[in-house]
Every structure is written in C-alpha cells, then in structure tokens.
Amino acid sequence: MTIAVDSSRPATAGDYIALLKPRVMSLVVFTALAGWLAAPGDVSPVLAFAAIFAIAAGAGAAGALNMWFDADIDAKMKRTRLRPVPSGRVSSADALAMGVVIAVLAVTTMALAAGWLAAGLLAFTIAFYALVYTMWLKRRTPQNIVIGGLAGALPPAVAWAAKTGGLGLDPLLLVLIIFMWTPPHFWALALYQRGDYAAAGVPMLPVTHGAKATRTQILIYTLLLAPLGMAPVLTGLGGWVYAVVAALGGAGFITLAIRVARSKAGEGATTAGEIYAAGADDRLARNLFVFSILYLFVLFAALIAEHGLGLYAPVFAR
C-alpha cells in the first residue's frame, strides 16, 4: 500500500481537530442537545454543558480512534485520503493516543457531571463505534453501517440518561429513529461513491450486492423510518411542530427513495471523490443523501424548538 505523505508542513492544531471529525461531532451534539432538552427535569446549566461537552468529546475520541485504525482504507479513498493520518501529517500513534486520552476524559467528565448510567452509556457508545464498527464490522460485512449505526444513534439517550438518571420509551424512540435513518443515509452515499469503497475493499452493500439490491434496501428502510419518525407524536414527546415536520419530511424521504428505487442510480461509471459530486445517473442518490441529512436535522431541530424555545403544543396528552 502506498500512502501519499504530505510532509511539506508540520502538523497544526487544525490537523488534530480534524482527527475528531468535527462535522460528525456537530450532528452528535445536535441530537444530544435535542435529547437533553426533551428530557423532563430541571438541571443546572453547568451540568448540562458538561454533559453535552462530554458527549461531544466522546464522539471526537471515537472519530480519532476510527482514523487511527482506518488509515489504510482512508488512504485508498479519494474522499478521505487527505485526512491527517493517511496524508502523513499526524502519526498513527498520535491519533491512537489522542483517541484514548479524550475518551477517558470524556467518560470521567460524564461520570462526575451526570452519574454512572450516562457515563457507562457514553463509554459503551465509544467502544461500540471503535471496536464493534471500526475494527470488526466495517471490513467484514455489508451490514456494517446497519449494526454500527447504533453508536451514532445513542447520543440522545446518553443525554437523556445524563439529565434524568434513567431511560424510557421516549429516548429509545429517538435512538430507533437515528438507527433506522443510518442505512438509507449511508447507502445513498455508497451508491454514488461505490468506486471509492470498492477500491478500498470496504464491503458496502452496493459493492457486495449491487446497485439494485441497495436501492431496494434503501426503500425498505425508508418505509420503516417515515412512520417511526412520527412515533414521538404518539408518546407526546413531539408536539404539533414536530408532527408537521416529521410528516412532511417522511413523505419527502419516501418520495426520493421511490425515485432512487426506480432509477439506475449506482449502475453507471463512478465519479468518486468529493462527497457531493455525482454523475448524471447518480444524482438521485446524491439528492437522497443530502435530503437525509436535512431530514434528521429538521426532525431534531423541531424537538429543540418545542422543548428549548417553548413551542411545544401536544397533539396527544403525555
């Protein structure tokens, strides 16, 4: 394996921040904040900040551990080859050390601020992402992102546990929504970036089972996700704002998934590279990928608006 080494400049703080996958961190913080605000109770803003900070740090640690272990794969993919480790600006040992140290600090902070349940859940989330997804599933099975998606789905429940000291149906629903959202989101990306995954030997569904099977699986998961997205309305967690957003978003998601299912997306020549770059046949998959991000964002933004800004008006009494 050849790794392009950029030794033209020493590593900067920005390279180490990039190890933490800031874009993933921001989504994790967003969903965790929604979980925190939606959870019942009144907790000091200091402890709220500490808990959300610990979740963000935990996500960053998991990202660094992922970049440490996956440097060989990242070096082969156009989308990831400029990451700090494969580009040679940060050593593998530094990435590993940073991941482990930040993970320990994150779990310690959570234990201090919010108790052992939240700290245990956070530790489980980091370990699941680094050990189960990154080291075990990612290179072995096309179900990698289905099972591994649990790690990305847990932050709202971690935040809920941090605030209340317990769990229940509502945080479980939020976890299930993200869990069910993950496959269509990543498979839409994998459809138009399949060449990258194939070159790196990552067994994503379009690589192992072809484009048609992937498009069908995307539709199946979307048909499960859309009604699941409405479930918080039934429990009273989501009010009118959430109900409208979830209904419209779910309808849009299904519409795009049907278009992708009926298209030839993922069958032409690949244009792997930039995350949003797609050839003519693949644009529907790219559009679905972008919409999926928007869908999750507005769903949790609705919860934040309802529970954080006082816009909550129940459709059904809690």
Partner: protein, 46 residues
C-alpha cells in the same frame, strides 16, 4: 533526528494548546464539583 525550525515552532504551538486544554479540563471538573456541592447532588442529576 534534528527538527527544523518550523517543526520546533509547530511543536511549541501544539504544546501550548495541550496545556490550555488540560487547564480547561481541570477548570471544568472544579466548576462541576462546585455546582454539585451547591445543589446538594451526590451521584448525578437523576
């Protein structure tokens, strides 16, 4: 291995950032402890 001037400066900047991050962590633990003492919390908010 002898480091270049650029590398020495970059290492110095990284060391300062690590020191600041550690100080921030210590401050965070201190503030968490004060808050929990003030609110009478023994284990966690729950």
């Amino acid at each position: 291995m002898k480091l270049s001037d650029d590398e020495v400066r970059a290492r110095g900047r990284r060391n300062v950032i690590i020191a600041l991050a550690l100080l921030a962590f210590v401050a965070l633990v201190f503030v968490i402890t004060l808050t929990k003492l003030r609110d009478g919390i023994v284990l966690g908010p729950g």
